[in-house]
Symmetry: C2
Subunit: 443 residues, 2 copies
């Protein structure tokens, strides 16, 4: 006879809770009440202890924490594949910025974020860090989808459809913070674009405001060798030196890309507790350089994982990104034992949660945390036989093997069916945008 | 009124024939008779000119040549994930060779190749180059699956379950050549393992026999820096120098991996017409080094693409491999325009056919060639919107979007259903092998 009432019990063939590190449970059940994990116990004992109206038996599946995509530009999904095989600056200046200048609006961001949210749910992401225009629209699409997000409000020296300059962007950010302060799924931060697009004064304001409002900051830092050469040419110093002087380097900062780092800079990043977000596929595709991931990890730096926007990557698939991260860490360090499967899974989950300051709530399957989790069916030809389920997940599974997704215990995908979003409508809407945008890009 | 009778007409939203290079047809039909492509014409005109009992309308699909996996060890699928995150020599000596020594047999190879064949069909491969034990068993599984293959018979100095030494291996090879000489789907070649496992005398025999019998040769060459150091230490020369002296370097040789190459060696490879097979994911995962793909292509060398075996990679997914190849070529050359999407598709199709000397028959969708082709459905959230279908295929699609596969006009997969293989049985069989092998690996 059960003496506890739960909302959901998930029995899984394997559970990789991520904390404790590299642990693996077999034939266990995870019990959810009020959106949180309240028990993790052998399946055989769950029936005696717990009762629940919903019981899910996943007999060939691996259950993991939901993936945390620590850097993307979700709405750019509408620009996926608009311009490939080009260097960063040509890509930005000739294609992306013109298209954005012409089309970015509340509607574009809402539609694009909805398309991205559907893709993220279908590929196992339950929380994402977004850095894009009109974050309040992105927040609405996120809430509609049932995902969690930290939305970093843009900040640039120059005008865009969202504002004339820094004052407009900062005002939009603080307004969004105000609007969303009571929704636990949505967190708002500051997203100054990059050292080469934001001058000192607005950056100083960000440091002060972020401290005051206790919010995180995200910035593209040391993405390419070119931007560093330019900074050194113009100012005599490397961007990281400037960011340090401005007081930006701290655990509050998520420094994205970081492909160009001297050993001294790695020490500086470690000492200041700065978070690093690694986007391997974007760095490869734009030929930006190789982030020294293994060195960063050895220095004790928290390295999270992001897909970057679909216009550069070209997808929001964190499973593919995790695989590329594991491959590349080995290739770059010339050590085949660098970033093993269990550690890249941690990078794609708990480290992302940590970088966003959300690891008290999400990132691992531990009692007391939110039930943000996904199931991956390994019973496919492509992931058989199973000697090590986590290695099969990282090295051989694809996104279509993600069968279920829950955020705070709420099911967002049930055996591949989205429960919160209307995918045929989203597809059609994307095609309508394509017709509009492709015409303009050809002009 | 139609004046031509065909066996199959496929109407597709897009066709990427690969030859002419980078061409793209929209709303065209491909017409098949007696297994060969007999016409490629606008869909609107096909009905007037041709009639066929089978007409396929693929309204949201891209049709491409079937992918050619130019290097794998198919039966090793049964060892997928047995030992990950280890350097090549530890992986080989502590895990793979012991497992192979204990389990390799005709049955293992037949079962493993069947599992691999099912995976290859489901991920768009229609022809593969295999280098593994008991090639006659692999040939039987290949024919059963309806695929094409070139099977490179192993050759090593040391004994294995297949033979006591070089004489046994060479005899098995010539016997297999005899057995399969009349089946156009199967080609047999010589597969001396690597410079460090085969001595001069058997290699000289291979050169003579390959010339006499007009068959290709496949060898792992310059895979790691370690093996080159070892060779230089032992003999004073780099392996490529030795292979040149032995007369192995020629268009007949498929040199696999080639991560360690001086500029002089690149010139030598180009001058001798040696084929290179690039296996980027295996090279990354085993931390073997980066093949200088862009330099090889600039030197006019034919570079084909292979997944390597699933025990190192850990899948036979040529779409993922093509994406990694494109990413890595850009990353390594620091040129974002290196190996663009259309060229990596050529690498994954026509270049593989060329490397195997089969490009008269396969590798592109040209009139007169065999109808070896696949359809990829781009009407998914993850590949929308479509600005450039080939870029979406390479950079955003996954293997599950391959819906149809034909070899010589015969349908091997019809809307995700395998027509030649029994996948539940194959899955079960893989799990039985796993139980047997996992116990032994833990001993």
């Amino acid at each position: 006879m059960s003496d506890h009432q739960a909302d959901l019990i998930v029995h899984a063939r394997w559970i990789a809770p991520v904390a404790p590190a590299a642990s693996l449970l077999e034939n266990h059940a995870l019990v959810v009440r009020d959106g949180r994990i309240v028990d993790l116990l052998p399946s055989a004992l769950a029936g005696e202890k717990w009762q629940s109206p919903t019981v899910q038996h996943l007999e060939t599946h691996l259950l993991t924490p939901g993936l945390v995509n620590a850097h993307t530009h979700a709405a750019m999904n509408l620009l996926r594949g608009i311009a490939d095989d080009l260097p960063l600056m040509t890509w930005l200046e000739k294609h992306i910025w013109p298209a954005e200048g012409r089309f970015i609006s509340d509607q574009f961001v809402q539609d694009g974020t909805r398309l991205a949210a559907a893709e993220m749910i279908r590929s196992g992401t339950t929380c994402f860090a977004d850095q894009y225009f009109f974050p309040a629209s992105a927040a609405r699409a996120t809430v509609e989808a049932g995902l969690r997000a930290t939305l970093f409000c843009p900040l640039l020296d120059f005008p865009t459809p969202m504002g004339a300059g820094p004052e407009d962007y900062l005002r939009a950010a603080t307004e969004a913070m105000d609007e969303w302060r009571h929704d636990p799924r949505i967190q708002i931060g500051f997203g100054p674009h990059a050292p080469y697009t934001v001058s000192d004064e607005p950056l100083q304001k960000v440091v002060t405001l972020a401290e005051e409002l206790d919010v995180p900051v995200m910035m593209h830092v040391h993405e390419t060798a070119g931007e560093i050469q330019m900074a050194v040419g113009n100012t005599g110093e490397r961007p990281l030196t400037r960011l340090k002087a401005l007081g930006l380097l701290s655990p509050r900062l998520l420094a994205v890309h970081m492909t160009q780092l001297t050993d001294e800079e790695i020490t500086l990043v470690a000492e200041t507790g700065t978070q690093v977000v690694h986007c391997p596929e974007s760095n490869l595709k734009l030929a930006s350089g190789f982030a020294p991931v293994e060195k960063l990890r050895q220095a004790g730096i928290n390295v999270a994982l992001g897909t970057d926007g679909a216009a550069s990557n070209n997808d929001l698939d964190m499973i593919g990104e995790a695989r590329t991260a594991a491959f590349l860490a080995k290739g770059v360090s010339l050590q085949a034992d660098a970033l093993p499967a269990a550690e890249v899974l941690q990078m794609a989950t708990l480290n992302g949660a940590r970088a966003l300051g959300r690891d008290d709530e999400i990132g691992s399957l531990e009692i007391g945390k939110q039930a943000d989790m996904i199931a991956v069916d390994l019973n496919r030809l492509e992931t058989q036989p199973v000697y090590d389920p986590v290695a099969q997940f990282v090295y051989a599974a694809t996104r279509d093997q993600v069968t279920h997704s829950w955020v705070g215990g709420r099911c967002l995908m049930d055996n591949r069916q989205l429960t919160t979003l209307n995918d045929p409508l989203i597809l059609k809407n994307a095609q309508q945008w394509q017709e509009k945008i492709a015409g303009a890009d050809r002009d």
